[in-house]
Amino acid sequence: MWEKILILPRFLIDRRRTMGKFIRLKKGFDINLAGKAALKIAPTDQPETYAIKPSDFHGIYMPKMLVAEGDAVKAGSPLFHDKKNDNIVFTSPVSGEVIEIKRGEKRKLLEVKILADKTIEYQSFTKYSVSEIVNLGRDKAQEQLLASGAWLNLVQRPFGIVADPAERPKSIFISGFDSHPLAPDYNFIYKGQDHFFQVGVDILKKFTTGQVHLNVHSSKEISTAFSQVKGIELNKFSGPHPSGCVGVQIHHLDPIGKSDAVWTISPYGVIQIGKLFINGIYDASRIVAVAGSEVKDPQYYKTFTGGSVKKFLQNNLKQEHVRIISGNVLTGTRISPEDHLGFYDQLVSVIPEGDHHEFLGWITPSTSKLSFSRAWGLLSFLNYKKEYVLDSNTKGEPRAFVQTGVFEKVTPIDILPTHLLKAIIAEDYDDMEALGIYEVIEEDLALCEFVDVSKHEVQDILREGIDLMMKS
């Protein structure tokens, strides 16, 4: 009650300044994991290899190589492009030598690996002053974004695909906080980037007919980059995860219908775009969090997009039998200790591998197992503030859908997850469309996968549905 009274006046002031909205969400669930990254940057050598994986991007028809093994590249020089849409270019995050072009079945491109130079050389792009940027035309800006590879930061809804250069989105969304477990602290990793962020926003504004929305959490500290920026609509959200998921934010602020397009971009992408136009380089450097219960010293590391995780984890793991995840534990991808970060990931999570049996584990009471449910013996609801150590065990076997109402409790949008998923499984296109498949991508329903009693792979099902819709 008091919280609401105290928040309200602040919200009114904000509203006057930026005309933003305040959306209060109640549904959802914060997963409180042990091993949060301490707010410091580890002194460590740069990783040696970097990799760009086409599988990190949706909506790419087929990648076509532009370099061969052994070629030298600069940061920002092209590696491959999309065969169907050849102005979408995937560029190298660092300068160095292309050491491996890894292909899988049917010669499908899996990853392009680069051995980095000691000092990074940059491909040069056009530099602009702040006043020039104001008058810069959309076409010029688009050209530079596409050529540098910074375009890939723009993700288009529906479907969560790489933005279509021909599209004019009705709005652009930036989620200013990450509510996923162990998420990096945006205040910390974007410190001192205020200027670049502002320039990035100025560039983005050229692309939309509507607003650029920046959404922050009402009870988290707001970075100055976000609070000072001009030309955006600053909205506040309250409530647990998935309040930070941009799909949830779009649903409440500017929902997507069949013929609409909305672009989303992370603050990292906005800053990268700012640097591209001010400094004339494709700067893929980023600060990533290495966190999780199995990390000895969870903290932040400086690296570049697609960096190898090897150096971060050397002598930094409590045990050998772990699962390393590029990204967060709800939507991330399992990788090996020599593998590389995903294109959009700013987090490496390390949790125990869960391939062990547990005697009568389905009935013994426990306070150490986290559950959204309060079913018999699951006592974590007594203490959600505790930091939990969770492993990768599925904790049960797959079963038919049993509607317990739990999906609805973690989905703070007006969508019926079970019905949508069933429509996908039945390949019912009309129902998928009517039930809102345009409004969601995997991360928006990731909590459903976590809480599901029947242990469905909700995110895989959803992506199958999206693929069906895209082909239809």
Binding site: G354, F359, A375, D391, T394, A400, G405, I415, A434, V453
Partner: protein
Amino acid sequence: MKFLRNTLDKVKHDFEKGGKWERYYYVFEALDTFAFVPKTTTGVKGAQIRDAVDMKRLMMTVILAMIPCLLFGIYNVGHQHFLAIGQAAGFGEKIWVGIVQVIPIIIVSYATGLTVEFIFATFRRHPVNEGFLVTGMLIPLVMPPDIPLWQVAIATIFAVVIGKEAFGGTGMNVVNIALTARAFLYFAYPVNIAGEVWTFIPEGAKTVEGYSGATPLAIAAETLTSGQNAVEAFSAFGTGWADNMYTFWNMFMGFMPGSIGETSTLMCLIGAFILIATGVGSWKIIVSVFAGAYGMGLFLNLVGSNPFTLMPAHYHLVVGGLAFGAVFMATDPVTAAQTETGKWFYGFLIGIFTVLVRVFNPAYPEGIMLAILLMNVFAPLIDYFVVSANKKRRLKRATI
């Protein structure tokens, strides 16, 4: 435990594809996963961690919520037995009579039901579902205490085969399985499940003078012909051998004849508390069933002309199986309405229909069973409207 695990691991390959007992894989899997949570891990992409809840734990919670009803039921079977034969008996004696009557029914229900489950799992090649853990307990609780065991077995087999497996197993069935069992007996062997069968009286035993096995609902239905005030008829009942049996509070506590587990509204409410506190049962359904029945009762009080319709509305909540049905049957997540809004309508209509059947259909004194079965069938229709409303909202938003 290590020994058990090693043994299971040793024989596991015999049950896997190509093994000598391949066709019994799901039998093995059921036993294996019953003893140990399997070591399967999450996939490469997506949620890397999972909630600790699973179907087994969910079902276990429901069983736990039924324990108060079961324990009270065991006591009450003995209590009613000694009242009927006019003997004074201690707590222990009553419990003993109850155990002797009730436990065999539970054993028969589980044994036949699980046998059918395992046979189907083997032939239809699907995993054994945990749903029967609950059904196996629900069936005995809605049976009269001296139901012949062979009837329990037949009803269970019918319910599992026709009510569930014919549709593809747990999660696919349309109507509540335990109620299917009871409805089957109701129509196939009415002699043993209707009339004055609700008290255990051994063959040849002499009942006390003035004894009657009529349940409150039967008495209330009789008022239709006798024209007596229902509450007066209740208080007149049992004079001499069971005074004040049918007062409101005694019926709320459950010291009256009836199905084994359904008589005590108090115990059902304890179960409801467990289901709601754990989040396993839908409070919306439970509340709306009671609200529907009470609302309909009140409405009939206002417009009613005969003595049954004039029975005070709150009596409807404590007589018969309304509370048990509301808490344990209507909340079955598979057969109930699946949308949150739909649950309100679903529960409310169950309450309304229960009272309607009771008051206007003297052939079936108890309405809750038929009301739930009816609404089970209509639940998809309710959901259809709720889902359509969701679709329309989205469409409307898009066209503005």
